[in-house]
Amino acid sequence: MSGTISVERSDKETVINIKGRFNFEMHSQFRTAYQEDTSKGQKGRKFVIDLSGTEYIDSSALGMLLLLREEAGTNESDIEIINAKPEIRKILETANFQRLFKIS
């Protein structure tokens, strides 16, 4: 029912790829995916959330993005959401998340 998450890490960047349904059931998976980086307190790391394989996103998932933003250091954090399908982009824009994240 829920989706799967894969992570690719380089020196400066963490790419989190979410496939399938991005909903409340993904909470611990998503957290595990970024916490390896955020827990170190390292600044200036870039996070890329790749939604190319995401079919659905709910408000709990939006909440998880907010949590990532906070744990990565709110304003200094560099978080980019890429490859969102039009209907998912619409959900992100209805919540005006373009003000908090780079959406491209």
């Binding site: 709910d58 907010l66 209805t94």
Partner: protein, 570 residues
């Protein structure tokens, strides 16, 4: 382990006794079925070794009775048998036996079987304890849910005005607690505040946020705070109480019948749709703000959209649960199916019901996955009072006494704070005559907005005369207020008791209000003659103030106003 041997063969039981004692078990011996059952009752053993053929009562019957006695507990019974034919063994199982041991006894097999039974017995005990724990928790949870439901219902529906004649609503929570919050209340000037909020997630955790939100909504609306001040206060509260991953997508609307306008603030809800008499969408109020509870609001974030309200308008708002409701195959209801009802072929007063019936047909027996809400505002009925009349706050009703208060507001305060709720709440906490808050509020609102809008901001009252002019006026007001650098408003209130002419008792009071502003004033004689009896758009509300007060006078250049308001015990 305590083991009961039931066997009439004394040699057998002696051998067994010895074998078991050597392994450290406590042994109880009986020599027939009747004695076996009796000893089981008295000694409460953990395991039973049972012979089959015995005097008085055979092993099958004894096993049956023991199993009945042990009802909730697992007490393994191992039959001791010389025969191994299937029929006899089936009889043992029927009687409740758990295993067999064939004679002559082999010590290793005996030990293995007892160990195996002991493991099963432990497992069974563990399972039973867990089951009891789960049942206890479930009962506790049930009770807590009931308390929670009660609180939720009381707080969220306190003074809820969803039966206002212009509102039609439908809401379908997916669990006991609704994560969609729908509240409505009148402000003291008779404007209707409506809010639809959709919290992250659903169920109890979503509903928890609804409680502080509903309280703020009702309290601030009743005190006369504006919609943008509500947005500000709710946002601040949600940031302070909710975890980061939770927020509330919300739309707040004020229906102002007197000004024939709608104020809308949409943060994260789907487009609010406004239809005309053809049932087509003539305006969409899109979400242009972040949801509530995400981050502190800027001045820009607090701004409302204002639109002219016409009687033929109907306003539809809904939570995303409506668009995302799945059918049994998992397909979503979707925006297209919803928008099909706004094609001009559905009569406007039928749209609400046809949306609901097509949603019901679409969903079939599918499991609900989110809370769903739909609300309609019928603007032609915006002026109707709710059944039972306008709600009134019950005040303290303090005996009339002399007092005096004065306020002085300067530009720096006025551009950030609406002085009205502060003033009215100060008055009501000193002298609180029930039933007069609304009238005092209206008088002070008119006086203060005259002083601020015309005196300090230099706005032309003529602009307000048409609905489109009113919108321009509103926007210009926002702009000038943000840029306000100097000026002041002084307000002085003086109260004196009114005595009965018959017996001198205090039967009410008179509030003298004096208001000065730093503006250039206006020609009040001219305004008075041209606006006699007019209290529609604009007109400085002079006629309205006069209708509520016993005296009204403008002094100086027209930048000083004096008003006397009299009240009597009801």
């Amino acid at each position: 382990m305590k083991i009961l041997i039931v066997d009439d063969d004394r040699i057998n039981s002696t051998i067994l006794n010895r074998l078991l004692a050597r392994d450290g078990h406590a042994v109880v011996i009986s020599h027939d079925g009747v004695e076996g059952v009796e000893k089981f009752r008295r000694e409460n053993p953990d395991l039973v070794l049972m012979d089959i053929r015995m005097p008085r009562m055979n092993g099958y019957e004894a096993a049956r009775q023991i199993k009945r006695l042990a009802a909730n507990r697992f007490v393994p019974i191992i039959f001791l048998t010389a025969v191994t034919d299937e029929e006899s063994l089936a009889l043992c199982i029927d009687a409740g036996g758990d295993d067999f041991l064939t004679k002559p006894f082999n010590r290793t097999i005996l030990q293995a079987k007892i160990d195996a039974m002991e493991r099963i017995r432990r497992l069974h005990g563990e399972l039973r304890r867990q089951k009891e724990t789960v049942e206890r928790h479930q009962e506790q949870l049930q009770q807590e849910m009931e308390v929670g439901q009660h609180l939720f219902a009381k707080i969220v529906s306190a003074g809820n005005l969803l039966d206002a004649p212009c509102l039609k609503r439908w809401t379908s929570p997916m669990s006991v607690f609704n994560g969609d919050l729908l509240v409505a209340a009148y402000n003291p000037a008779g404007g209707l505040h409506i809010m639809l909020g959709d919290f992250t997630g659903h169920g109890l955790s979503a509903a928890v946020g609804a409680m502080p939100l509903a309280e703020i909504f009702y309290e601030m609306t009743a005190q006369g705070f504006s919609l943008s001040e509500l947005v500000e206060a709710i946002n601040a509260k949600l940031i302070s109480v909710m975890p980061t991953r939770m927020f509330c997508a919300a739309c707040l609307i004020e229906v102002d019948f007197r000004q024939q306008s709608l104020l809308v603030w949409n943060g994260g809800l789907p487009d609010v749709l406004v239809t005309d008499q053809t049932g087509r969408v003539v305006r969409r109020l899109v979400s242009n703000r972040l949801p509530l509870g995400v981050q502190a609001l800027t001045r820009e974030d607090r701004k409302m959209e204002i639109m002219e309200m016409r009687p033929e308008h109907r306003v539809f708002l809904f939570s995303d649960g409506l668009i995302e409701a799945p059918d049994p195959s998992g397909e979503m209801f979707g925006l297209d199916r919803l928008m099909a009802h706004f094609d001009g072929r559905t009569q406007t007063d039928q749209i609400f019901d046809t949306i609901l019936s097509s949603l019901r047909n679409f969903r079939g027996g599918a499991v609900q996955t989110d809370d769903i809400s739909l609300l309609e505002i019928d603007c032609s009925r915006a002026g109707e009072e709710p059944p039972g009349g306008m709600p009134r706050r019950s005040e303290k009703n303090l005996p009339p006494a002399p007092w005096e208060i004065s306020f002085s507001f300067h530009a720096g305060t006025l551009k950030n704070v609406d002085p009205l709720p502060t003033v009215i709440n100060a008055v009501m906490s000193i002298q609180a005559p029930t039933g007069h808050r609304e009238r005092l509020y209206t008088i002070l609102a008119e006086l203060l907005s005259n002083a601020l809008d015309h005196g300090l901001l230099g706005l032309d009252t003529e602009m307000k005369k048409t609905p489109t002019g009113f919108i321009e006026y509103y926007n210009l007001r926002e702009e000038r207020l943000a840029a306000l650098e100097s000026g002041f408003i002084q307000l002085k209130l003086m109260h004196e008791p009114v005595l009965s002419e018959v017996d001198g008792r205090r039967i009410g009071g008179a509030i003298h209000i004096r208001l000065d502003d730093s503006g250039p004033g206006f020609d009040y004689n001219k305004v008075r003659s041209s606006l006699e009896g007019n209290c529609g758009h604009g007109g400085r509300g002079i006629a309205l103030i006069r209708s509520l007060c016993s005296e009204l006078a403008y002094l100086g250049d027209g930048n000083q106003a004096e008003v006397v308001y009299r009240w009597m015990y009801e």
